[in-house]
Subunit: 584 residues, 2 copies
């Protein structure tokens, strides 16, 4: 069996920054070549970043992407990297009309190309387009109808893009028909809790279906609300895991694969399953035996559930801050667990020296709240100051009559206004502390605690907030560091402290109960009757369902945050604001 030394470049592309992404492809290819790689692969749309959303509909951007691809092929040669074939995703366009989708020739496509010796050897477009959850690919793209197979060092390598293996048939079946020796899949597959397990099972199944080794390369980093966890994988046709990259880190996975010698004589244009046409390219290179310095396959260990979520929150927050051109963040610290957790995430993401916090007590703030906020600052070393909102509060109350909820919300909004004033004055980006349970039921103040450019825990239920806080402290102890979050912040009963002796439990069911109902209603899409049938108190379910349904506008105005669940409150859940359906 010929040996092929394959390199999977698990990188973090930046949406829209073609120059930076091209530089990265060159830099990582150089490393791969230094490691002796004979074939190098980059993620889906690595050249443009992913997802580019409606930028795909801007012709000037499509042309810039196509131009950058050709330029990149030349640069690789100029850097002495022309001999290794490089598979890279980019934004392209169709040559032919797609009458099935009523789209003309020249419509955008989610493409990939193989670059070799200064040429674009082959180009192809994603065949299966996802159009659910966070994906709108029928809006942006038309599908491709080719199965590209490149022969490199005597091995036939079939190529596919992400969704091509999440749906049945298509390029997986076609790869078997084409007798490929390797199915190489490039991906922009966003993180979701436990998706690594799902993904491994999927690639195993598809490798078996394709009847060959399957190599899966994914991106890392964050793009708006999406987080990419990497987790690139190589499995044999028998399902054996040959190699696996770490989660949430840029990583070059290089390994030697023994692959069957290409023997197929299927000709170009052969019609395969699902309307796919075979397109062959011969890249040359002698089939070689396994080299003496054969690279041991590396199988990175998986993170624990909490560590994985924490890494997603940290990398999503870091990416959002950095890619939007900021260096520092500003957080209102109440002494409560939400803002404490957000501050800890920010410290891990960009360093305590870039985290600015302000305690903004009102007449209803307890002594322990002020103390707990200061204690967090002491433990982590972040910047901390205190500004009372009492004088502003008094000025409003003198100007107009405010009682009850209006008075409560006012305090929250005065804090939001103060945070934005400091942000404008000093240039930090504001992080919002809201958690998913609060947002779900509308227990937050528009223009108050919802102020901010990013909400690091907006997709984290309150019960998970507690779990993560405990986990982060324990993790610090394991590492021999000071636990960042004061114990009192974790153990005291949650309160918004907007009126005397207020507790969250005055207005909301116990968080464990609330979160169980929410998970069924939001992630599970179960109706009111189904949740009641599962044994929950009908009065609680009715109340929660009504609260969730009527809070849609508030959620819509909330900043984006890293998506960690099946359904967050971002692009994956699109409900009308004006909506009279109130029966679950």
């Amino acid at each position: 069996m010929p040996n092929l030394r394959l390199a999977l470049s698990q990188i973090d592309p930046w949406v829209g920054d073609l120059d930076r992404n091209s530089d990265e492809v060159v830099r990582w290819t150089k490393q791969a070549v230094e490691a002796g790689a004979q074939l190098v692969a980059f993620p889906e749309m690595a050249l443009t970043g992913y997802p580019v959303e409606d930028l795909a509909l801007r012709r000037s951007f499509v042309e810039a992407s196509r131009g950058a691809l050709v330029e990149l092929a030349g640069r690789l040669v100029a850097e002495g990297l022309g001999e290794v074939p490089v598979v890279v995703g980019y934004l392209g366009r169709s040559e032919h009309a797609s009458p099935r989708f009523n789209r003309p020739a020249g419509s955008p496509q989610n493409c990939a190309a193989v670059l070799h010796r200064g040429e674009v050897v082959t180009r192809f477009a994603k065949h299966h387009l996802p159009n659910y959850g966070v994906f709108d690919e029928f809006r942006w793209f038309v599908p491709g109808d080719q199965l590209p197979v490149v022969r490199v060092h005597g091995v036939d390598v079939a190529l596919a893009i992400c969704e091509d293996i999440w749906q049945d048939g298509g390029r997986v079946t076609a790869a078997r028909e084409a007798e490929a020796g390797l199915l190489l899949v490039i991906n922009g597959s966003p993180y979701e809790r436990n998706k690594d397990d799902q993904r491994l099972e999927l690639v195993r199944r598809r490798a078996a279906e394709a009847g060959c080794t399957l190599a899966y390369v994914n991106m890392v980093g964050g793009q708006d609300e999406l987080v990419f966890d990497g987790d690139s994988i190589v499995v044999g046709a028998d399902g054996e895991v040959l190699a696996r990259s770490p989660q949430f880190e840029e990583h070059l996975l290089v390994l030697d694969l023994d692959l069957p010698a290409a023997s197929s004589d299927h000709t170009d244009g052969l019609l395969l399953s699902d309307g796919l046409h075979l397109v062959r390219s011969e890249l040359g290179g002698e089939p070689g035996p396994a080299p003496a310095g054969r690279l041991t396959a590396e199988v990175a260990p998986r993170l624990s559930d909490e560590a994985e979520i924490w890494a997603a929150l940290v990398s999503g927050t870091r990416a959002y801050v950095e890619k939007n051109g900021f260096r520092s963040v500003l957080i209102g610290l109440s002494g409560g667990i939400d803002s404490a957790l957000v501050a800890s995430i920010a410290v891990d993401a960009i360093g305590a020296e870039n985290v600015y916090c302000v305690s903004m007590p009102s007449r209803y703030s307890s002594e322990h709240s002020k103390g707990d906020a200061a204690e967090l600052a002491r433990r982590t070393g972040l910047h901390f100051r205190t500004v009372s909102i009492a004088p502003m509060f008094d000025a409003y109350l003198a100007a107009t009559e405010l009682t009850g909820l209006a008075e409560e919300n006012l305090q929250s909004r005065l804090r939001g206004t103060l945070l934005m004033a400091i942000s404008n004055q000093e240039g930090h980006i504001v992080l919002a502390p809201g958690n998913k349970s609060e947002l779900a039921v509308g227990y937050s103040t528009l223009y108050g605690d919802s102020v901010g450019a990013f909400g690091p825990i907006k997709d984290v239920y309150k019960s998970l907030v507690f779990r993560l806080a405990r986990w982060r402290n324990e993790e610090a102890e394991r590492r021999g560091e000071v636990p960042p979050i004061p114990e009192n912040t974790i153990t005291k009963p949650p309160s918004a402290e907007l009126r005397p002796d207020q507790k969250d439990s005055d207005s909301l069911p116990d968080y464990d109960l609330l979160d169980s109902v929410l998970a069924r209603y939001i992630e599970g899409d179960e109706g009111r009757d189904a949740i009641v049938a599962a044994g929950f108190d009908p009065a609680v379910v009715d109340r929660v369902v009504r609260l969730v349904d009527t809070a849609e506008y508030k959620r819509r105005q909330y900043p984006p945050g890293p998506k960690v669940s099946v359904k967050n409150f971002g692009r994956d859940r699109r409900l009308p604001i004006t909506n009279r359906w109130r029966r679950g």
Copy 2:
């Protein structure tokens, strides 16, 4: 030729309110029957409202819609309306899997049914699904593959849904193949400036292609950012306009049509164009001659460009306030033209007695601003009060150092906070005054003037704001009423009045120039180079393009507003926030 008396019910369904919508179908059917109608048609998804967005993915809602349809058939009989066939849109589901789209049996469909004598005589699903602009129908639905033809009073009536006639082929061609005597199309077609002209041209072309009379019924009202303008039309195969409903009003269009007697003997299941199968139903009814009291076709006059836009803004605002359960609105009146126009729209939408305004002067507010705001209140009779923000401003400045932009934004945010406090206290919904030019370039303050649940002019460029203000005043004069907007508000140079002697023109190009560049960049999707090539100053274009690209986050946080253009800043333009593409 047999005569058929057709009724098109141009109604305003409420999303999610199945009971209310069913009541409306019964009520309008009764009127149609009283007028002697032999066939009654309601808009697309009239039973559920449109668009229901991700509610379509909630199984309990699909089942409720299906149940409501069956119940409606029974109610029509109970009300003595069972003899007239009623065509009504609803949310249904597929019987078979759609492997082409990887969707199982039971997937949601955008359906319509014919109800007759207590039965659901036929059901079918939209064939062409729009998935561009504001539409995401491949996300929600799977397509239908039938051409329903119902024979009623001796005429073969082919049925179609909205997009079915916006794309080539499909049910239009199939209707000709089936030798239909009438093509009846039910629609949820949102308003866009000048769309009535486009729509008329379209239905004329499709009538010619189908080779028969075409009847087009649309909805009116508003749903979140969408406005529906009605404009139901009947045209002959020769393109003659036989009848047309008024724009933006609920309306029952009843007319007698001479239609060819059905003679086709094509059988059920016949395969027509585009994979459509013929499904025939015989509803009975004798073919009759034109009745003695033949109804004269009514062709409602078209509104002028300004009147049409005004009606869209007024009906979009009214729908949003009412359908969200509010009765009154709150607006910050600066004395400037934007808030004056918004107040005038609100007065026309819900009456001056339900419009509450507050002038919130700061130390930089001019005397004329305060006077102009009061003058608008006097002219329209809306509720008016003045609350100075000076004490709150001083309290912030005493607490933390703020200069420049931070100080400017603070004033705007203090006003936003005051509006929300009054809103919470008194129960009015806040309207935001931002116009499209400002939002495009980010010339607004997050949590300041962007505060509100709805932005009536967020899709109106500043130059059009001026035009509409003048038009509204002239319209008042034509009607012998007091023009609502003070002349000085229209003629003085625009200013945010956040620092001494500030003018918009200090920071932005002249609005006519700005709006020309914006229209090309936003609506036209022209790149920077193309706009420069059209003769615009490269420095201006670069500046505008940069401002637009970097203001994405702010726009995302802005409240929804009635969509009047090809691209507003809502669901029809989805750009990444984190985006390094800055070359247009």
